[in-house]
């Protein structure tokens, strides 16, 4: 241990955020009398430059060797203050934060109660800080490579940025082609750029980039290690097509016995494909894949007298014997860009999506309006009796968004604008159509969005405020039942087609990624960022970052911006070549360890092993911690019967005095 503790205690007013509910002066006065507290002060904003300067001055002039800041959550400013005390030559771990804002002033109303609790929290911090030990951080080399999971526009953009910076990128995509959701879109709002025209070049760049290794039709199976040193295992699913031989000519698909008989995922179920297929013409890689769930050869073991595709393939690329392949590599950082699912409109049965073919989703509309879509861009729908060109069209917004009844309280942020865009595109294709948009609110917040919305309204698209209660059929028409809430008029709108502006949801299979990377979900069930404002691309797992809609609904510009942010963050360890190992690791008292191996069993990181030591002539097994692997969770220490393994900064001898301080009636 170092010298006798001399504690400086700083109580933050946080403007009135703390001082409105906690009598900060009373807390400081109380703390002044606690053991080893040398100075106790209050200040309006401890985290500000002058606030930090106050601490530094005291360390210098009063010879403080321990600092407590009673302020906001340690999750906010622990690092800030660690840095501050370190700058004065103090060990950064001689700092303790008493959280008197998030867990005191903001959640209590009564000044007396708030002050009393703040005093206890401060006493608890004093009890602990006296017994803290100096810790040294160590550094290990970081692997100069990144893994990106998901190759939609977010993954593609992040991959290109990192690869351009000179680092190796492994871009893993589940489906046979990169491109993601953006590849399905026709035009993009508000500029009406052709989606494919701006995405395809990036896809091609990815494929040709010397630093990018594309792993399409693949899945991450295992992630081990820690920031700077992740070991990744990826399963490349068998395509049953030798990609080195496949020229992408497409003869196989034409020859396939199931040609035009299998529903196309890319066309949102509205088009057809073969059992051997390329999802869309601009796919990258431009290689064919056999769908093992439908291919006759793979499901039944035979295909007529022989597989037609094999016959048609001049290159001899078809290989029904192909097996999954496991690829293993190391990376220093990971970006998760797994995207979203669209809301399943059948969960709103009142809109009749499952019953009426002329009720379609926004995503289906994208394919319908697309010149590469199933109808070649002609707007035609089946009204149950005949195929018609719809002349009266209704859009319904907020389907599956802002709707507690389906469990989604959030706004999906893109539906207002894609509805406007689609209304515009419809107006171009069917100039005499009557187009009405039913909305709750219109949110046109981005650059050029409000202007675009105005333009669409001027194009004789009628916006009616009202949330339709029901859609039903009357003759050949669909009836949208709604109340115009601006005029309080009940309406029954007869239309030929309804477009449901479905919202964005977390992916149904996100659990797999959560488990792999130890991510958590926020209230909306999207992946949770480390901090909603200040660390929006980071996660609680060091070295793992988020990009795009997996973190929450976003439009393309925001997705690309976040992807670039994630890329920049991921490059920090890659560029510095070093990562700092958590100093708050577990440590073993070899003199008392009895070598039972309980800690070895519970350690989730295999950071502990039993080694043989010589204790005064006797050979014994004791536990030893690999500090590079230890995350400091402390599970080992609470299973240890002899208390021989303890996480630094969270030792029993540091926690028990905290309990005493909180428990004691004084």
């Amino acid at each position: 241990m170092t010298d006798k503790p001399r504690i400086g205690l700083y109580v933050c007013h946080c403007g009135i955020n703390i001082s409105a509910t906690v009598d900060v002066d009373a807390v400081a006065k109380y703390a002044q009398n606690l053991p080893n507290v040398h100075v106790a002060r209050t200040y309006s904003y401890m985290c500000s430059e002058p606030g930090q300067a106050l601490i530094k001055k005291d360390i210098r002039e009063q010879g403080l060797n321990r600092v407590i800041v009673a302020s906001c959550s340690p999750r906010m400013h622990e690092k800030t203050f660690r840095k501050a005390v370190q700058e004065e030559g103090l060990n950064p771990y001689f700092l303790e934060i008493a959280n008197i804002r998030e867990q005191c002033s903001w959640v209590h109303e009564d000044m007396t109660e708030g002050t009393a609790k703040a005093k206890k929290l401060v006493a608890s911090a004093v009890a602990k800080v006296r017994l803290l030990e100096p810790l040294e951080s160590t550094e290990v080399d970081a692997e100069p490579a990144a893994l990106i999971i998901g190759a939609g526009i977010a993954g593609i953009q992040a991959a290109l940025d990192i690869a351009d910076a000179g680092f190796k990128v492994y871009l893993v995509e589940k489906s046979p082609s990169i491109g993601g959701r953006m590849a399905q879109l026709d035009k993009t709002f508000p500029t009406l750029d052709c989606s494919a025209c701006i995405l395809t070049p990036k896809m091609v760049d990815c494929a040709s980039h010397p630093n990018i290794e594309l792993l399409t039709y693949a899945k991450v199976e295992e992630v081990d290690g820690f920031v700077g040193n992740f070991t990744i295992k990826v399963r490349k699913k068998a395509r049953y097509v030798d990609v080195d031989k496949c020229t992408g000519c497409g003869e196989c698909a034409k020859a396939c016995r199931l040609a035009n008989r299998i529903t196309s995922e890319f066309d949102e179920g509205m088009g057809k494909r073969s059992a051997i297929y390329m999802p869309f013409p601009q796919a990258v890689p431009a290689k064919y894949t056999i769908d093992p769930e439908n291919c006759l050869m793979l499901t039944r073991g035979k295909c007529g007298k022989g597989p037609k595709c094999e016959e048609a393939c001049q290159a001899g690329a078809i290989n029904f014997e192909q097996q999954d392949e496991i690829v293993e590599f190391k990376v220093g950082a990971i970006i998760v860009a797994t995207g979203f699912d669209t809301f399943d409109a059948s969960r709103k049965p009142e809109y009749g999506y499952s019953n009426y073919p002329n009720v379609i989703t926004g995503m289906e509309m994208e394919r319908l309006v697309s010149s590469s879509g199933p109808t070649g861009g002609d707007i035609k729908v089946f009204n149950g009796e005949e195929e018609i060109v719809p002349k009266e069209i209704a859009f319904i917004k907020c389907v599956g968004s802002r709707d507690a009844s389906v469990g989604n309280e959030y706004c999906s942020r893109v539906c207002c604008m894609y509805t406007a865009k689609q209304a515009h595109l419809l107006r171009e294709k069917i100039p005499d159509a009557k187009i009405r948009v039913y909305y709750i609110d219109v949110r046109a917040f981005g650059k050029g969005y409000e202007e675009f919305y105005d333009r669409v309204r001027r194009e004789n698209v009628r916006y009616i405020r009202g949330n339709p209660s029901e859609i039903f059929k009357r003759g050949k028409k669909l009836v949208v039942k709604v109340e115009d809430t601006l005029t309080a008029t009940p309406l029954e709108d007869e239309v030929d087609m309804v477009v449901l502006a479905v919202g964005l949801e977390p992916r149904a299979d996100m659990r797999e990624v959560m488990d792999l990377l130890r991510l958590s979900q926020s209230g909306d069930k999207f992946f949770m960022e480390a901090h909603p404002k200040l660390r929006p691309v980071d996660t609680a797992t060091d070295g793992v970052f988020l990009a795009g809609c997996c973190q929450g609904p976003k439009d393309i510009p925001d997705t690309v911006a976040q992807a670039k942010g994630a890329a920049a963050s991921a490059m920090v360890p890659l560029a510095s070549g070093k990562v700092t190992i958590n100093a708050q690791v577990a440590t073993v008292n070899e003199a008392t360890c009895r070598g039972c191996g309980y800690c070895v069993s519970v350690c989730p990181y295999s950071a502990i092993e039993l080694v043989t030591v010589n204790r005064f002539g006797h050979e014994l097994e004791v536990a030893r911690v690999n500090e590079a692997l230890c995350k400091g969770c402390g599970s080992c220490s609470s299973v240890c019967l002899s208390d021989s393994i303890q996480p630094k900064s969270f030792r029993d001898r540091q926690i028990l005095p905290q309990i005493a301080a909180l428990g004691g009636t004084r």
Partner: protein, 143 residues
């Protein structure tokens, strides 16, 4: 028991889920009783069940341990170990005659600010009903 008895409750929260959830309750200005005082640990797996005993001995009327939901542990499994150890410890306390209302465990995620409030309210209500814990408090012993 006295009407104005304010229970003193010590809570152990894991850094990643429950502590963050409690912070979120703060950021969202969700009000709850001040009886609860938190000790932050990195993982609920860090909570040695003897902490619960120690808290009761050192003057707490009740104890709460909260961690990530099963499957969500930042350290993968810590909360599972915590659940097993604290579960059996709760059985022990109850058998020795400690009112089971004095010790609670909960799963509160980083996004469950509201749940945190509910957990705190339930715990405070239960401990209040159980009354002051004089059981084996250290200071009850005459020096």
């Amino acid at each position: 028991m006295s009407e104005d008895f304010e229970p003193n409750i010590v809570a152990f929260l894991c850094n990643w889920c429950s502590y963050a959830g409690a912070d979120l309750a703060g950021t969202s200005r969700i009000h709850y009783p001040a009886n609860i005082k938190v000790i932050r640990v990195m993982c609920s797996g860090r909570v040695n069940p003897l902490y619960v005993m120690n808290a009761l001995q050192q003057g707490a009327d009740g104890v709460l341990v909260s961690g990530c939901h099963p499957g969500d542990c930042h350290y993968m499994e810590g909360n599972y170990y915590a659940r097993r150890r604290l579960g059996i410890f709760k059985d022990l306390l109850e058998f020795v005659g400690v009112d089971p209302r004095r010790f609670h465990m909960s799963w509160v995620s980083a996004s469950e600010g509201h749940k945190w409030k509910e957990v705190v309210e339930k715990t405070v209500e239960d401990v209040r009903a159980a009354g002051p814990f004089e059981g084996f408090r250290r200071r009850q012993i005459d020096w």
